[in-house]
Symmetry: C2
Subunit: 292 residues, 2 copies
């Protein structure tokens, strides 16, 4: 049971978490904080938060659970602001898509309270954002990755794990570096590839014609190129080292495939395509009702 | 009205065309040809064809419409086989995803009958194949691209156009080169990228873990990597020149994006992502009930 939950950044992610915990009857008061008053008012109207403030430090006062749900670029500043105001029994977690830079910010900002910080990343979302898009079942059946540090207190980890489990999510643990490498390869790199393909095609003289004849495969392949540009530039830069590695690995393998095409090496193309099909058919979970 | 329709290669594409024409009441007899007798028997059981033969030349005898529905790699041989057997009033079309190499094969095989040949490409399909996967509404609302040659007889073009229009498809015309460049950019290159990403990730030591945490974006992005490997190696090689150009354009633009990431150039990333999102949101048609 969470007595007082503080959500700093009441968007799709933080808002859906609050709704899920309310539905589970596991939270007392919910206090929202953020910069956009209209969004916070909507969150109150929708029953996501009981009250709100634009001051993150005020929001976390006497809260036993603090969820930082802001963008990666804003996380360090929020951690610095809330650090002096945290209650003695407070546990702090975040929802960032990259963990290395959040952990660095937490080390710098939280000092002795680092033990109370549990880095987290719910693998869920839609293309919508803001409190208006939040819904209680967003996390049901989805994974939430926690990347606890050597310093993380076992009790803090357990409380964050229990919170996410109550939303219907499957909670797993990973090392910070392994998380960032895995997400670079399966999420951040595909976004870069999709953005690059669409941007490059859009610059052609025959762009309209090109897009006009695009089929369903192209639509699915480029769906993630409709994601929020500022958010994804933020994520790419926050995970720069792992993403650069993923980009180089991809470009090098792709150059090999292009060389095979150039050399009319049908066997090499067939073998690579068949390996990929087998891996995808075996490993990628079938479509669910949820997106992302 | 088609008196006798010959379908050489009674798979998803040719079979669905026959079913749609039957439903529209626009075809008399349908004769199927192919190499797999079990598939041809299934086509007869399902009412797709009235009778079948394993000899393409026998199938086209006295047919006024001949549809070559075999793979790109088999098209040249089929055209050579049927050329001497074509009826004087026969019109011939194909369904290949690449047009340049089909046109070259037709020029070599058909001689004086080239005027009766109308290169075609229905932009429709599913991940299934074979006569068992055929259904009458496959083409409804989808585009069919025809790439008539200077030599193509206007009457032949008109008969093929009317046939496809009767299936509910929207028939458009393009030049051969423009078709192959557009399909390289929006279909063949994305397949190569998706195959490459999955194959490269599958080769990693942590592949299982990586795939386990892949979210919906990855699933959509890589859906086309579950396509038939032999078919797609065939398509890539058949459209080699245009595909190599598309690959080089992509790789060069991608290197620019990676350089921006390396240089922490947030503005350049945001601008490219925003251009891509705007182009996709404006130009890519929303999801329909049909796939591909």
């Amino acid at each position: 049971m969470i007595e007082r939950l503080a959500i700093v950044g009441v968007g799709l992610i933080g808002g859906s978490l609050a709704l899920a915990l309310r539905e589970a009857g596991l939270v007392g008061e919910v206090v929202g904080a953020g910069r956009g008053v209209a969004n916070l008012e909507l969150a109150r109207e929708r029953g996501i938060v009981d009250r709100f403030t634009t001051d993150p430090a005020a929001a976390v006062a006497r809260a036993d659970m603090v969820v930082v749900g802001v963008t990666l670029g804003a996380t360090a500043a929020v951690l610095e602001t809330i650090a002096p105001a945290l209650a003695p029994n407070a546990v702090v977690t975040d929802v960032g898509s990259v963990k290395g830079n959040v952990v660095a910010a937490a080390r710098a900002a939280l000092g002795a309270r680092l033990a109370a910080f549990v880095p987290g990343h719910p693998i869920a979302g839609t293309e919508q954002s803001g409190a208006g898009a939040a819904f209680a079942t967003l996390y049901r059946g989805h994974k939430v990755i926690l990347t606890p540090l050597a310093e993380t207190a076992p009790e803090a980890l357990e409380r964050v794990r229990a919170m996410w489990a109550a939303t219907g999510a499957r909670v797993v643990e990973m090392a910070v570096d392994a998380h960032d490498a895995a997400l670079a390869a399966t999420s951040h790199l595909p976004h870069l590839l999709a953005y690059n393909l669409v941007d490059q095609l859009a610059a052609r003289d025959d762009a309209e014609r090109i897009f006009e004849f695009a089929a369903g495969g192209f639509r699915d392949f480029t769906r993630i190129a409709s994601s929020n540009p500022e958010l994804w530039a933020d994520i790419a830069l926050a995970n720069k080292a792992a993403l650069l590695t993923a980009c180089r690995d991809f470009a090098s393998a792709f150059a090999g495939l292009v060389a095979a095409l150039q050399a009319d090496d049908a066997e090499r193309l067939r073998t690579a395509f068949a390996r990929a099909k087998a891996a995808r058919d075996r490993c990628v979970v079938p479509e669910s009702n949820h997106r992302e």
